[in-house]
Symmetry: C2
C-alpha cells in the first residue's frame, strides 16, 4: 500500500508513463495494463491513484498542459513585468509548437486527445477544451495592452486571440505531419503575430 510514498511523485510517475505510451500508440494504447507495465507498477496501484479511465485521461492531459503552461510562464517572466505583446506572443507560440523532442512529444499527446475526441473512439472529457480557452485568454491579455479600449477593439482582440490560438494548434499538427519544417513554423508564427498586431503595434 502506498502510504509511505509521496502521492504527487507516484502520480507523476504514472502520468509520465502514460504520456510515453500515448506518444507511441495513441490514446487507444493507454490502458491501465499498458501504463502500469510502462511505469513498472501493478495495475492495482495505478487504479489506486486514478480510479476511473476518465480521471486517468484527465490527469495525464493535465500533466502535459501544466508542463506547457509552466514553460511559457517561466519564459514570459524572463521578459519582465510588461513584455512587448509581439515578443510575448512569439514566446508563447514557441513554447507550444513542437520545435524540439520534448515539445514534439507533448504535441503528439495533445493530438492524440484531439483525434480521440473527433473520432469518438474514446470518451474524452469536455474539460480537455479548457487549455484552448486558457490560451485565448492569455493571448488576449497581451494583445489588449497595445490597443485603445472600446467595444470594437474588444471584439477584434477576442478574434485575434482566437486566430492566434487556432493557428498555433493547426501549425503544431502541420509540423507533426511533416508539412511544415520547424524553421518554417517559427517563421509563420512570427508572421502571424505581425498580422495580428499590425506593423505599428507592440
Amino acid at each position: 500500500m502506498p502510504r509511505l510514498v509521496d502521492h504527487e511523485v507516484r502520480r507523476r510517475q504514472i502520468t509520465d508513463a502514460a504520456r510515453r505510451v500515448i506518444v507511441r500508440g495513441g490514446l487507444d494504447a493507454a490502458t491501465f495494463q499498458a501504463v502500469a507495465a510502462e511505469a513498472g507498477m501493478s495495475v492495482r496501484l495505478v487504479q489506486y491513484y486514478f480510479g476511473t479511465k476518465k480521471e486517468f485521461l484527465l490527469g495525464t492531459l493535465d500533466s502535459v498542459v501544466h508542463a506547457m503552461a509552466a514553460r511559457f510562464t517561466v519564459e514570459l517572466e524572463g521578459l519582465g513585468a510588461e513584455p512587448e505583446p509581439r515578443v510575448a506572443l512569439r514566446t508563447i507560440g514557441r513554447a507550444l509548437l513542437p520545435l524540439d523532442d520534448i515539445r514534439r512529444d507533448e504535441a503528439k499527446v495533445l493530438a492524440a486527445y484531439q483525434a480521440a475526441r473527433l473520432s469518438g473512439s474514446q470518451s474524452v472529457p469536455a474539460e480537455t477544451l479548457d487549455p484552448a480557452a486558457l490560451l485565448v485568454r492569455t493571448a488576449a491579455e497581451h494583445i489588449r495592452r497595445v490597443r485603445d479600449d472600446g467595444p470594437d477593439t474588444r471584439a477584434a482582440t477576442e478574434l485575434d486571440a482566437e486566430l492566434f490560438t487556432v493557428l498555433v494548434a493547426g501549425l503544431s499538427q502541420s509540423v507533426l505531419s511533416g508539412f511544415h519544417s520547424t524553421e518554417r513554423a517559427a517563421e509563420l508564427l512570427d508572421h502571424t503575430v505581425d498580422r495580428v498586431l499590425g506593423s505599428g503595434g507592440g
Copy 2:
C-alpha cells in the same frame, strides 16, 4: 465480373461507402470487409477496384478532396473572372469549413487521415499532404492580385497563404471538437482574411 458496369460508378460507390465507414469509426474501421459490407458488394469486388489498402485509402481521400475542391471551384466561378481576393478567400474558406452536415462529414474524414498520420496507426501515403499544398497555391494566387510584385511581397504572400491554410485546417478541427460554433468559425474566417489582406486590400 464487373466488365459491363461503369468503372467510375463502381469506384464511387466504394469510396462513398468508405467515407461513411470512416466518419463513423475512423480510419481503423475502414477495412475491405467493412467497406464491402457498407457498399453491399463482395470483398473481392472492392479488391478488384482497389488492389491494395494504400490505393484504397488514397482513392477515398481523393474523392473527398475532389468534392471539396469542386465546391469552391464552382463557387469561385460564380464570382466572375477576377473576384476580389477578400471575397475569394472567404468563399474558399467557407467551402472547406464544416459549416453543414456534408462538409462536416468531409472534415471528419480529413481529420481521420490526419490522426492516422500523426499516430502512425495506419500507413498513410505521403500524397495526403498534397491538398494542403494545393490550398496554399490557390490562396497565394488570390492574395497576389492585390499586391505589388517584389521579393519581399512574394515572401509575405507565401506566408499569408500558409497562414490562411493552417487557420482553415485548425478551425475545421476546432468546430468538429466543439470549441468553435459554426457562426463563430465563419466570423473568425472573415477576420483572418482581413488580417491577411489588410484593411486596404482586395
